[in-house]
């Protein structure tokens, strides 16, 4: 039978040297570094070197292979982020049809089109995607011949959808990339010669923790690898996190930001706000039909000067009968936002300059002032300066005229001997 034993017993029986040796041999009880099998995988020698710059004619460097505006590019990942029901999925169907037909139907150029497009919606059933495609075809008066067999669609109920998990979480909280899945996808893209693959939403293409930056980075890189290997453009749709009242940006994408970092372009969707609707004179009941799209992170192409606006239109599919009405499916069309300067002539600006010159004390810069210069502008344009929308419009016009030099800001003393900012004529308009 064994008995309790301590170092006092050991010293008595085996001597102090044995105790010393036992302590010298002590080790941390945690796991040892994994041994041999890992060493076998290591390369014999790690080679890292800096590549010297060598000159070559820039005209001979292959250009970036954009497919659709500056949003989609071969071998690159792009992303689309949007709050719910902002128009993301409809926009993507419309964009896919533009690409498959090679036509500029959404105010964006299709480069070297038409292209072969694969729309894979992992949220909606195949039939719903099909209906949206038909809604666009009807709205734009297109036929199957226009598509030319270049459009491929899959829904959440397609046989391959449950398989599309590029990475899965393991029991230890880590993750494993599913290379056989990537391999099968690459093969399918090559077989159909797809130029553009659209995945909606990104979160359904993996089953790792959305907030794990390491895991999301690995999945995003796997999508980049697929784009590279197949020479196609890949777009991933993502939802924004719960809004805090501010406008969404690329970095409001839900979960880890690694996917947004990996994407070369990031389209942000936003519903029309109440303020914008007021400015554009759109009734509240119609406001929700409009949404804007802008690229918040196009770090490889010229920045768009402003957002593109779209409006939903309802398209009846003609599938109604005695048992129920036809489906009314949403498609979109481009919408031109009203120009702030719409109707303002050069002569009117000249008159505004004259008014400011004649009444310098009534040309205070700040709109809170009772002597705001905007009132002089409103007088010339014959609009109500107390109307909030007009007030905002006038404010924008004044800002532009100041920026362009037609007006300028100066500091002067008021009648109460206080220094305030006034607007005065800058460069007189030559009529």
């Amino acid at each position: 039978m064994s008995v309790a034993r301590d170092f006092d017993d050991m010293e008595r029986e085996m001597g102090g040297d044995a105790v010393r040796a036992a302590l010298d041999a002590a080790r941390w009880p945690g796991p040892e570094t994994p041994p041999d099998q890992y060493e076998m995988e290591k390369p014999a020698k790690m080679a890292i070197s800096a590549t010297p710059f060598t000159w070559r004619d820039p005209a001979t460097i292959p250009r970036r292979q954009f497919l659709y505006g500056y949003e989609l590019r071969r071998k690159q990942l792009s992303s689309v982020i949007a709050p719910g029901a902002a128009g993301k999925t409809t926009y993507k169907v419309g964009r896919a049809i533009c690409m498959a037909t090679g036509r500029n139907l959404l105010n964006t150029r299709v480069w070297n089109g038409p292209h072969r497009v694969w729309l894979w919606n992992l949220e909606d059933e195949m039939e719903e995607v099909e209906k949206t495609v038909h809604a666009f075809l009807k709205a734009w008066d297109l036929t199957m011949d226009d598509l030319g067999g270049r459009l491929f669609i899959d829904g959440v109920d397609s046989p391959s959808s449950p398989v599309l998990k590029l990475a899965i979480e393991d029991r230890s909280g880590g993750f494993t990339l599913q290379r056989p899945v990537s391999g099968a996808l690459i093969e399918a893209i090559r077989e159909r010669e797809i130029d553009y693959l659209d995945i909606d939403p990104f979160v359904s293409s993996h089953s790792v923790d959305e907030n794990n930056n390491g895991a999301i980075d690995a999945v995003s890189k796997e999508w980049v690898r697929i784009a590279h290997e197949t020479n196609c453009a890949v777009s991933l749709a993502h939802h924004v996190r719960k809004p805090n009242g501010s406008e969404p940006s690329a970095f409001d994408a839900r979960g880890a930001v690694a996917m947004i970092n990996a994407a070369r372009s990031c389209l942000v969707f936003q519903k029309m706000t109440r303020e914008v609707a007021e400015e554009f004179r759109i009734p509240e009941c119609d406001r929700k039909r409009f949404f804007s799209v802008y690229d918040d992170k196009n770090n490889k192409a010229p920045a768009p000067s402003s957002a593109n606006w779209f409006q939903f239109i309802g398209v009846g599919l003609g599938n109604g009968d005695d048992t129920g009405p036809e489906d009314n499916i949403g498609a979109i069309e481009c919408w031109e936002a009203p120009d702030t300067f719409a109707g303002v002539t050069a002569r009117q600006l000249y008159h505004i300059q004259q008014q400011i010159e004649a009444a310098p004390k009534e040309a205070r810069k700040h709109s809170a002032s009772t002597l705001w210069v905007g009132k002089l502008v409103a007088k010339v344009l014959d609009v109500d300066p107390h109307d909030d929308a007009e007030k905002r419009r006038i404010g924008k016009m004044i800002s532009v005229w100041i920026r362009e030099g037609a007006l300028r800001v100066v500091e002067r003393k008021t009648s109460h001997d206080q220094m305030k900012e006034f607007v005065e004529v800058g460069r007189w308009l030559q009529l």
Partner: protein, 282 residues
């Protein structure tokens, strides 16, 4: 309904006795507090408290009990729903909270009293005689210790260097702490530190650590029990992270669970120290 709780407490104690955990002192009042209690059991040595129990009294009272000496550990629950009314629950929770606060107060007072007793005892004690049977048996240097009558005194210090308890060792090796005194995180140091980053050993018993100090010259820290090794290791590692610690475990191979080894390994793992266990002769 209160009668049901009393019945539950009585049932719990009855279950303990059936399993061989027989309290030799009244425990019903302390059990109702909802915290782990220790108590003297039939068959325990003088001053020992090998029995332990914890009981939660609510709609479905449940608890656990055991005896360290006998290696017994059992769970228990009542097999009926007492269905307390909200008022009864509130009153019960209030009673628990009051009992808990009272016990904490008692514990603080008893630890403070034990600390005063320890300091008085240390002041009035004589230098330890080199002929004390335990010192002779364990071949220990008498100088760090004192003696009160036949008992060898080992001071127990906290991180601030304040003596809060004393371990008393009889000639036959029987060890006792002052009753009610604190033991958690208290230690005794054998040897001195000489330089930054040197090796220091932490182990359970005073004789064990004295043997290690004799054999190696390393400063050796006595934690007094397996249970206290983790607390002492954390305390020292926080105060002197530069030291190269070796946790020296006792090999309690004779017990159903090798408590000495488990506690030592856990402490070493936690602070990143090395761990050593005494070898056995082939």
């Amino acid at each position: 309904m209160t009668g049901d709780w009393h019945t539950a407490v009585a049932d719990f104690i009855g279950a303990m006795e059936l399993e061989g955990v027989k309290p030799a002192e009244p425990i019903a009042q302390r059990l109702a507090g909802g915290e782990l209690i220790r108590f003297h059991c039939e068959g325990d040595g003088k001053g020992r408290q090998n029995g332990w129990a914890i009981l939660y009294l609510d709609d479905r009272p449940a608890g656990a009990f055991g005896n360290y000496r006998l290696g017994i550990s059992r769970k228990w629950h009542v097999d009926r729903d007492l269905s307390l009314s909200p008022e009864e629950k509130r009153r019960l929770q209030q009673e628990w909270a009051e009992a808990k606060a009272k016990r904490q107060e008692e514990r603080d007072r008893s630890e403070a009293e034990a600390a005063r007793d320890a300091q008085d005892m240390w002041r009035s004690a004589a230098d330890a005689s080199p002929d004390h049977p335990y010192l002779v048996k364990k071949r220990m240097d008498a100088r760090p210790f004192r003696q009160a009558g036949a008992k060898l005194l080992v001071p127990m210090y906290d991180g601030a260097g304040i003596m809060l308890n004393i371990q008393r060792i009889d000639g036959d090796g029987t060890k006792r702490f002052l009753r009610g005194g604190r033991t958690d995180g208290l230690f005794f140091l054998i040897g001195q530190f000489a330089r930054y980053g040197e090796t220091a050993c932490i182990g359970e018993g005073v004789a064990t650590m004295a043997a290690i100090h004799r054999s190696t010259g390393y400063p050796s820290i006595v934690a007094f029990s397996a249970k206290n090794i983790g607390a002492v290791a954390r305390l020292w590692n926080a105060a002197r992270p530069d030291l190269n610690y070796i946790i020296c475990g006792d090999d309690d191979d004779h017990l159903p669970r090798n408590i000495g080894r488990e506690a030592g390994e856990a402490a070493a793992y936690e602070i990143g120290a090395r761990f050593a266990l005494p070898e056995r002769a082939a």
